[in-house]
């Protein structure tokens, strides 16, 4: 479903992603973990055609992200790290415009919308403006929107950040359910290790490079630790970072601030 070969992306003199290769199978639940600024979001932005890579190649659903961006865009759904709804529109209008942007036939899409809305418990709020929604409701609506065009692959960039445990649990129930029912491939980044534990396989990225890739169980076994948290800390832990806390990290920080301002 995803094939990435020696992917790299630089912003000026800074390499946000240095050399990343991996592949994700169809129907797989793939976790992409790493400390802040490791290059997770940059990688996702390349895979969903928002950024073009400086070097390397990536195909998503069999399409090249640089040469066939529109085919890629049609095949994927994305839940961005930051909210991306139009707050001045109602929930229904947000979904209606999404359907129009994807040129979906409305009759069939309407049915899918109804079932997705009731799945996340938003059927009764469809005509309310999104600006009156809580954080959890917005997230649930974004999930409905991301799934509306029946993507083969769903990107989830820290999908449960800032949500209460109840909402988090619900979201995972829906998403896993869909993964089983529709054979959806999931590509997720998260800082919650108990969520990462659900993944089929996990890649750990640090300083723009993939430093390990395995199943959660294999990770724990090979490192001889009981939890994924310990695996993560062992692989990206403080000791390693301090050695690396050089000019490069400072620049990376600066870049992050700069990107933050650009947003």
């Amino acid at each position: 479903m995803i094939k990435v070969q020696n992917l790299a992306k630089s912003f000026g003199p800074l390499w946000a992603v240095e050399d990343v290769s991996f592949s994700v199978e169809k129907g797989e639940f793939f976790g992409f973990l790493g400390p802040n600024g490791a290059g997770k979001t940059t990688t996702i932005n390349i895979l969903c055609t928002l950024l073009s890579p400086t070097r390397g190649e990536a195909t998503v659903a069999g399409y090249d992200v640089v040469r066939e961006p529109n085919q890629v865009r049609r095949s994927i759904g994305i839940i961005f790290q930051d909210p991306s709804l139009d707050e001045r529109l109602t929930a229904f209008e947000n979904l209606r415009f999404h359907a129009m942007l994807y040129h979906l036939p409305w009759r069939e899409t309407k049915e899918r919308m109804e079932s997705l809305l009731s799945m996340v418990g938003l059927s009764g709020r469809r005509n309310d403006l999104v600006k009156y929604f809580s954080g959890g409701m917005k997230r649930r609506l974004e999930i409905v929107r991301g799934l509306l065009h029946s993507p083969q692959l769903l990107f989830l960039d820290e999908p449960t950040l800032g949500l209460d445990p109840q909402t988090r649990k619900y979201i995972w129930t829906y998403v896993r359910d869909l993964q089983k029912k529709e054979g959806l491939t999931l590509f997720m980044t998260t800082h919650y290790m108990e969520e990462a534990d659900q993944c089929d396989r996990i890649a750990i990225i640090d300083a723009g490079k993939i430093i390990a890739l395995d199943t959660p169980t294999a990770f724990k076994r090979s490192l001889g630790v009981g939890s994924l948290e310990e695996v993560f800390l062992k692989l990206t832990g403080r000791e390693i970072r301090e050695e690396d806390a050089s000019e490069k990290d400072q620049l990376r920080d600066l870049h992050r601030k700069w990107i933050g301002r650009m947003r």
Binding site: N45, C48, T49, L50, L51, N70, Q71, R73, R74, I76, I78, F80, D82, P83, S84, L85, D86, E87, R88, L89, E93, F97, H98, M100, L101, Y102, H103, L129, R145, R261, M262, R263
Partner: protein, 249 residues
């Protein structure tokens, strides 16, 4: 570019503007303010040697002003979209970048023309007669001016990532364009260097066109007004599309 995608981008902006009462209020307040205070205040100063009452002279300029402000405000909504993340939703959808830019230019112009029409409601109060034929010419001509301004706004907004920049644009683009368009004072008694600037200003030809449609008075050949604006709007649209293709997400 596909028609449905352009329509989608256009429709969203129109649905949004319907809920935005402050913009409607602004489009009403601005002409009242300028016509009432400037028009009545400056009237006696200008009156002696002009071919028409100052308020009549000013009126087409105020139409242009409402078009100008509304166009830029609409284009600026791109910055909002970037700030609130919605731009990403549009950028990852399978519609072309040129459709997005064209749709934005179309929605901005539509909204601006609606706000320009608000000014026309004041015509009877100022004893300006509006015939159907002049209205028939005025609307497409207003659309052309608005399209030029919106495309210009998109070019600027596509590079802007914060609202701090908007004040700068207002000071260095919108106001000079307005002042140097012949909207509020005639352009024939100003120094040559300033005249040069007015000749490069697309709004100059827009205001001239409006004056021709309303009163039959004009400074430049009508065909020149029209072709300059068409040329300028196509240039800006092309630039807006090019900028949008490289715009940061």
């Amino acid at each position: 570019m596909e028609l449905q995608s352009i329509y989608t981008v256009w429709l969203r902006d129109l649905v949004r503007i319907r809920r935005d009462r402050t913009q409607l209020l602004g489009s009403l307040a601005r002409p009242i303010l300028w016509l009432l205070f400037l028009g009545i205040g400056m009237g006696p100063v200008f009156h002696s040697d002009m071919e028409m009452p100052y308020l009549h002279y000013l009126f087409p300029g105020i139409i242009a002003m409402n078009l100008l402000f509304a166009s830029f405000l609409s284009a600026i909504s791109i910055i909002w979209d970037r700030e609130f993340g919605f731009l990403k939703e549009i950028l990852v959808s399978p519609i072309s970048r040129s459709s997005i830019a064209f749709g934005k230019a179309a929605s901005g112009s539509t909204i601006a023309v609606l706000q320009g029409l608000v000014v026309l409601a004041f015509a009877p109060l100022l004893h300006i007669s509006l015939s159907f034929s002049s209205l028939f010419l005025l609307i497409p001509s207003m659309f052309l001016v608005a399209f030029t301004c919106t495309s210009m706004g998109i070019v600027l907004a596509s590079r802007m990532t914060s609202f701090e920049g908007f004040g700068t644009i207002a000071n260095f683009v919108i106001m000079p364009m307005f002042f140097l368009s012949g909207a509020i004072f005639p352009l024939d008694r100003i120094p040559t260097w300033l005249k040069l600037l007015t000749r490069l200003n697309p709004l100059t030809y827009g205001v001239d066109q409006f004056r021709w449609i309303l009163y039959g008075v004009h400074r430049f050949p009508v065909a020149f007004d029209l072709s300059f604006n068409i040329f300028f709007s196509l240039l800006m649209l092309g630039l807006a599309i090019a900028m949008f293709k490289r715009s940061p997400a």
